[in-house]
């Protein structure tokens, strides 16, 4: 294991329509922000070792659209898209996120809020995924569960479900 590998992401369920992801990085928030919002940098980490990223489009302005897609080994193409709602440089980013693998993806889009808080050169990141309805949350969960039920698909579990 690398040193980085010891810092696991923490996932909690604050309410019945929310998922919260938390993680600390050994870098100032300006750099985390840059890596999160620059297409050629996103391409290098978003794939989570599940395959190759095939699309990474970022129109970084309020009202601008984004779209990520990847070819996940053993699963096929998975795509996500959304729109930037609020941009507070280096600290807060609100965007919508639709998983293209479910019907009426846009109607069930989640709202994601990224926050970055820096302390002593380290940055605490939180990503709050809020589904507009319990139905949307259930679809998100269920799309992941079906694959998760097959052992061979374990690695793809997150990608299949929601992975933005």
């Amino acid at each position: 294991m690398t040193v980085a590998g010891s810092r696991k992401a923490t996932v909690t369920l604050p309410s019945d329509t929310q998922i919260l992801i938390t993680r600390e990085f050994h870098a100032p928030k300006e750099l985390v922000w840059k890596a999160w919002t620059t297409p050629e940098l996103v391409r290098r980490w978003w794939h989570a070792n599940r395959g190759e990223m095939t699309v990474c489009e970022i129109d970084f302005r309020v009202g601008g659209k984004w779209r990520y897609a990847m070819h996940a080994e053993g699963f096929g193409e998975v795509g996500f898209h959304g729109e930037y709602r609020e941009i507070e440089p280096f600290e807060r980013l609100v965007s919508t996120e639709a998983y293209e693998g479910i019907p009426d993806a846009d109607a069930h889009a989640a709202v994601d809020t990224l926050t970055l808080t820096e302390l002593d050169g380290r940055t605490l990141m939180t990503v709050l995924v809020e589904h507009p309805t319990k139905e949307g949350r259930d679809m998100h969960i269920e799309s992941g569960m079906e694959d998760g039920m097959q052992d061979a698909m374990n690695l793809l579990e997150g990608v299949a479900a929601e992975l933005r």
Binding site: L13, A27, W46
Partner: protein, 113 residues
């Protein structure tokens, strides 16, 4: 959708903070409802309502012991949620490990200036 409905319901049952508290207490062993009322500081009808939701998804089971009813945790019903969260966590952990590599390079570039 139907076959996963129970799981989604369990997720729902567990998303409520008070119900998670109940599960935490029951993780320590079987308890009568009065114990749960004392632990949570809630009115008994409210605790009973939460217990009913948890029983409906199988997260909690009950048995009679004389005049008392004892509640206990059924971890198996919660396993799908645990597995889902774990899978989600693993994917994000791997993603962030890649991000660490990118950040390491950006850090070096900054320092090199």
């Amino acid at each position: 959708m139907a076959r996963a409905a129970t799981t989604a319901d369990a997720f729902n049952a567990v998303a409520e903070p008070r119900r998670r508290q109940i599960l935490d207490v029951l993780a320590g062993g079987e308890r009568p409802v009065n114990d749960l009322v004392a632990h949570l500081g809630l009115a008994q009808p409210l605790v009973s309502k939460h217990l009913r939701v948890l029983r409906e998804v199988g997260a909690v089971e009950v048995r009679g012991d004389g005049r008392r009813r004892l509640y206990r945790l059924n971890g198996a019903a919660l396993k799908p949620i645990h597995d889902w969260v774990q899978g989600y966590e693993e994917t994000w952990s791997e993603r962030f490990e890649q991000l660490d590599v990118v950040l390491g390079e950006l850090n070096e570039e900054e320092e090199g200036r």
